[in-house]
Symmetry: C2
């Protein structure tokens, strides 16, 4: 029993004439005859009473035809679903973002994605890189925004932008006089850092290896966020390092904080999109990338590669 057979069946039930039904199905009359006979054999019931005068459907035949129509209707729905789902920009996209990007990127990203793909709602999760990676591989997320390096089997990454680091200090700090800060000198100051698990913490420590050993000068704030650290810096608890997207908007109207760039070579992080190699909605990813690059993130440099 195939869907084609069922189509022949309902056509014959409607036409009550093998020739006409065959014509309507764009097949020859013998084709339809054989198909109906095969169906009858398979079901072991007589569906039609054939005679020269006309074709009569049996009681059981009528019931089976009604059911066949239901099957064909439901089968048609599959094509409808496929057509509706063909657009990569339709249906929700599960997006993951690391903590040190989310608050600065998402307010710009969300309206831009909505404008570009109105029928693609974003389901957003903020988390650590490792958690995002797990969710991505498991299929709980479709695309994630992380900092490089990020190497995972089965995952492809695409760099989107580079973002320089900035030094954030309380207004009136001694370094305020300098136009740029050398990375080495971070070890001299009480440096406020995010807790373990935040990739940005590791990247900062990489910038200033001395900070790792120069204990006492550095304070790790477990379970905290860049925003919390920013407030602590404002109260004079120490200095910190922020990505430009978080640091550069600050001084405007915030008299308690001062931002300074690093001396060249400026340390930076490279932000990338990552998704499963097998993920089929590449169009959706393009939209995300464009929306990120279209967001006003101060200091960032697009990676054109």
């Amino acid at each position: 029993m195939t869907l084609t057979d069922l189509r022949y069946l309902v056509a014959l039930a409607r036409e009550r004439h093998f020739g006409h039904a065959a014509e309507r199905c764009n097949v020859s009359q013998p084709t339809l005859s054989v198909a109906i006979k095969k169906l009858e054999d398979e079901l072991a019931v007589t569906l039609f009473e054939r005679s020269a005068a006309d074709v009569k459907i049996t009681d059981i035949g009528a019931r089976i035809v009604a059911q066949a129509e239901k099957v064909l209707l439901e089968a048609g729905q599959i094509k409808e679903l496929a057509t509706a789902g063909r657009d990569p920009l339709s249906g929700p996209l599960k997006l993951g973002v690391i903590y040190t990007i989310g608050p600065y990127l998402l307010p710009h990203l969300i309206p831009r994605v909505h404008a570009a793909a109105p029928s693609m709602p974003l389901l957003i999760q903020e988390n650590y890189t490792v958690r995002l990676a797990e969710s991505l591989k498991r299929g709980d997320l479709d695309v994630i925004v992380v900092a490089l390096p990020f190497e995972e089997p089965g995952i492809v990454t695409q760099a989107v932008y580079d973002e320089p680091f900035r030094v954030l200090m309380p207004a009136g700090h001694a370094w305020e006089q300098e136009a740029s800060i050398s990375a080495k000198r971070l070890a001299e100051a009480p440096l406020l850092l995010l807790g373990a698990g935040n990739c940005f913490r590791d990247q900062v420590l990489e910038v200033c290896p001395l900070c790792r050993s120069g204990e006492g000068l550095q304070r790790t704030l477990e379970g905290s966020s860049l925003e919390t650290i920013r407030h602590m810096v404002a109260t004079g608890a120490g200095i910190t390092v922020l990505p430009s997207s978080a640091a550069d908007p600050l001084p405007d109207g915030n008299p308690l904080l001062t931002v300074r760039p690093f001396e060249a070579p400026e340390p930076f992080r490279r932000i990338a999109l990552a998704w499963r190699v097998t993920y089929p909605r590449s169009g959706a990813i393009d939209v995300i990338r464009s929306a990120i690059l279209g967001s006003p993130l101060p200091g960032v440099r697009p990676v054109t590669r």
Copy 2:
């Protein structure tokens, strides 16, 4: 897209492993791989993300799988319907009976059919032979009980029993003294007859050709029934001829009527079943035939042919 493809699809969705799904479908892994790919091409959507680690279903894939399950469920119902309808003794049987048999046969027939085939309710129609024939050919009836001769294209008949005719007269009638009546003498008496269209009327006139011409002696009662005629005979309005099944039960406890057989050769009618050659429920016909022969119809002789 075939039902087989859909079965492969839901199997893969359940197993999330091409090999296992193939095994469950009793096909090879490449068969399943190719079928899924073909489906994806046809629908122009990616249903699964394949990777070495595992097989993930896409959003659209999950929706389509759900729909495919619905289709398969409905398709399964077709087989259920066929199985249920395979029994020729299940489902209603549309039975037609001529007026001159119905009242005498049906009270016996109905309980016997119900006992032999409890799930085959009888939908009964009484009518003239010609009307029954039309309905039978049109499919409004499945089987009819008529008197022979009955020849119709596309209709087969099977004789069931012969039924002798009887003379019915009021008690005290002159012929009461005789053991049997000669058919010729019917023309002498006021003969009450059914209206045109009743085959039994024609058969009686055939028994006694003189009655046709010997006008005045005969009265046609349009729109009447044998039962009405019986009552008229009881009131002395004339005599009549009845089939034995209608006549023989009468004298018991009816002092107003007398029944006499005809002289040999006894005139009789042959009662038969008729159905479309194409009618598939021969088992149902057998049940009807057996039930008729099992009914206590006085005077009838089964036709064993």
